[in-house]
């Protein structure tokens, strides 16, 4: 079993608000994880390909335009098709609370809203991946 947790931080959709994605990427790296950040404006296809190729443990999605409604389900579906269903998916950005139950039900494990501390995200990933690795 490898030691370091591998994370892909990705920005689907067209919005250019990457402050949060970059801060989270940097914080996860400082917490000892291997982090890949895609840059902005990635297609769902590109994100899933990178996740599979890089064999990541978890995928963090950041979006602020409102296109999560359409794009998050697509990513989950594509990941399943390509054998990436074990990848832990979490998300952040501007996601109205009304949208959250639906997104969680399709397999987004957690949506972190504005004001979340990076420590909370780090703890969440470590706990989830740790539990998952014990099961394996």
């Amino acid at each position: 079993m490898r030691k370091k947790i591998r994370v892909l931080i990705a920005k689907p959709g067209l919005d250019g608000h990457d402050r949060g994605a970059k801060v989270v990427a940097k914080a996860l790296r400082d917490a000892g994880m291997e982090v890949i950040y895609t840059g902005i404006r990635q297609t769902t296809e590109q994100i899933v390909n990178t996740a599979i190729q890089e064999d990541v443990d978890c995928l963090g999605l950041s979006i602020l335009s409102g296109a999560h409604v359409k794009l998050f389900p697509e990513i989950v579906e594509l990941l399943k098709k390509r054998g990436g269903e074990k990848i832990l998916i979490f998300a952040g950005g501007i996601v109205p609370s009304e949208d959250i139950p639906e997104l969680e039900s399709i397999g987004i494990s957690k949506i972190f809203g504005p004001g979340t501390s990076t420590q909370e995200i780090i703890d969440f990933i470590k706990t989830q991946i740790g539990a998952d690795r014990k099961r394996r």
């Binding site: 067209l14 950040y37 840059g39 335009s65 109205p96 004001g115």
Partner: protein, 571 residues
């Protein structure tokens, strides 16, 4: 007198202060603002000893404009209360504009959706899920005709937040005006057209920086010759700040971008006095009250000095920094959202005391979703309360002469200038962006800021201190937020319209017009600093939009010829 004050200060420090500090230490060892400028315990006449009233402050409406750009400021006319909004398709937005005009509003502000801003038509694969979401979808002149149907373009001023494909959208606006029979000299409004900042914040770039600078320059040049009442560019620090920059960085990078645009226009053999009077600026306004006021005053003084010293402009209007301000979206919290009303009030007040020409106040629930009608109304009322009830608009630059504010204004100016000189040394803004210098500076500031919040070195009320009982602070409570925001039928409707347009228009003419753009792009090879020998693309773009070529089609040609920008990401 000076000596006496100095002596008395020393006296006070030894006899009064020392004892107090021993008994009761201050809350912090070190006080500083967001720009990392050290804040002293007390400011006295000593701190502004070097201040020369006539040279450094002067009179409002006069160089160096520290006290404001108009002689009477808000005694004459209040700032424009301009709220940025827009969503859905052209028809929906048109209804909204007509409603606003009926209510007495005279300025419109157009938000475009992301596919339009990035040069994709609504039927492009990358547009899926984004059509009409953060603004209105415009594919062709047809949509623009619908958007402004029944809106007399000679009697409204229109602000359009569009950057990379600005030339195309402005061309469409001009075409609509011509169809309404309106003389171009009567068109008034603003295009953002600030392509350089897209690479360092905001992210709606399309082409590499050099050809983008050319397109920006095309618009500026065209406007200087044909649109006397248009502000062709709004040089924007807002997004730079929101991306994490400090106030000093916002100030420095924005003015450095401004200098790059002046240089580019000069290469077209235009004199700065022919275009600089139409330049406008756009800044953010955050929580640190005095830091923000000082920033605006320093911005005016520094720009005036730079324009005078570097370009020897003669017309006072060429030195005048006129700006729009918006309260800081990133300062809003999703926790206890009503607290945001207080934040917005403080920020709006700082913008007014800083002498803004127009102001957008954010709504309390913007950290959650697009704002509700109620919240938008409170945001506007906040401005009206400041304007009509607080009395701050009754005298010009009321805080001038404050030892603290004047000293801070001076320091902000100096530090921004140091940054600008560093950018000069890197070879100017274009080179600094290409080297990733600016991006790294902003990223670091954003990270440091976040860490400080997490360590509680910076307090955010309701977030890291004074949190309510979780049961009461559940973010979205009591707020109606539209699910998913926008009707997904808009995308389908927009796609159908586009398909129909492509069947009905004269496609031969479109092909020819697109080919003309291609030919106009490369009369000579594009090279660094080569904007001067480039043809202005506005005429061929005007021709293309006139025969209903789409934003996507025109951008495809430009993408082919200019290439596409890919960000090199480093974290």
């Amino acid at each position: 007198m000076k000596q006496k004050i100095k002596k008395e200060k020393k006296n006070w420090e030894e006899k009064v202060l020392k004892k107090i500090l021993e008994k009761r230490p201050e809350r912090k060892k070190h006080f500083e603002n967001y720009s990392k400028i050290k804040i002293e315990r007390l400011y006295t006449p000593e701190d502004i000893e070097g201040l020369d009233y006539l040279k450094d402050l002067g009179f409002p409406g006069n160089f160096p404009f520290t006290r404001g750009v108009q002689p009477t400021m808000y005694r004459g006319r209040l700032w424009t209360m301009r709220q940025y909004a827009g969503m859905g398709d052209a028809e929906e937005s048109n209804k909204r504009y007509k409603y606003l005009l009926k209510q007495g509003q005279t300025g419109l502000s157009v938000a475009f959706d992301l596919p339009t801003q990035i040069g994709y038509d609504s039927d492009h694969q990358l547009a899926i899920g984004e059509v009409g979401r953060v603004g209105v979808a415009i594919d062709s002149l047809q949509d623009m005709e619908v958007l402004f149907k029944g809106v007399p373009l000679d009697r409204v001023s229109t602000s359009m937040t569009i950057n990379s494909p600005c030339a195309i959208l402005l061309a469409m606006y001009i075409a609509v005006a011509e169809k309404q029979g309106i003389n171009l000299s009567k068109l008034s409004g603003t295009t953002q057209n600030d392509s350089l900042k897209e690479y360092i914040a905001r992210g709606t770039y399309i082409f590499p920086p050099l050809p983008s600078l050319r397109l920006t320059t095309d618009v500026n040049e065209y406007a200087s010759k044909h649109l006397p009442k248009w502000n062709p560019i709004s040089i924007s620090g807002y997004h730079i700040r929101e991306a994490g920059a400090t106030a000093v960085q916002e100030l420095a990078f924005t003015l450095a971008n401004g200098l790059a645009y002046v240089e580019a226009l000069k290469m077209r053999n235009l004199k700065p006095d022919d275009f600089a009077p139409r330049f406008s600026f756009f800044f953010a306004v955050h929580n640190n009250f005095f830091e923000e006021i000082a920033k605006f005053r320093a911005a005016r003084r520094l720009w005036a000095r730079l324009m005078k010293e570097r370009f020897q402009v003669q017309n006072p209007k060429s030195m005048m920094l006129r700006f729009h301000a918006q309260t800081g979206g990133s300062t809003l919290t999703a926790q206890q959202p009503d607290n945001n009303i207080a934040r917005v009030t403080l920020q709006a007040l700082a913008a007014v005391l800083g002498g803004t020409q127009s102001l957008h106040t954010n709504s309390r629930d913007e950290a959650l979703a697009l704002p509700s009608e109620d919240s938008v109304q409170i945001a506007l009322r906040t401005q009206q309360i400041i304007a009509y009830e607080s009395g701050v608009s009754d005298t010009v630059d009321p805080l001038a002469g404050s030892y603290y504010l004047e000293s801070l204004t001076d320091q902000m100016e100096k530090e921004a200038l140091t940054y600008i000189k560093r950018i000069d040394d890197l070879g100017g803004m274009l080179a600094a962006i290409e080297k990733g210098f600016i991006q790294r500076e902003i990223q670091n500031s954003a990270y440091i800021h976040q860490k400080k919040i997490e360590k509680k070195e910076e307090v955010v009320v309701g977030l890291n201190r004074f949190q309510s009982d979780p049961a009461f602070s559940a973010p979205q409570k009591n707020h109606e937020v539209r699910k998913g925001g926008v009707d997904s039928k808009i995308e389908e409707r927009q796609k159908r319209r586009l398909l129909k347009l492509k069947e009905e228009r004269d496609n031969k003419k479109v092909k020819k017009a697109l080919n003309n753009i291609k030919k106009a792009i490369h009369p000579t090879p594009l090279q660094r600093g080569g904007v001067h020998n480039q043809k202005n693309l506005m005429p061929v773009i005007l021709e293309a939009v006139g025969v209903y070529a789409t934003v996507g089609e025109i951008c495809d040609i430009l993408r082919q010829e200019f290439g596409e920008y890919r960000e090199s990401v480093s974290i």
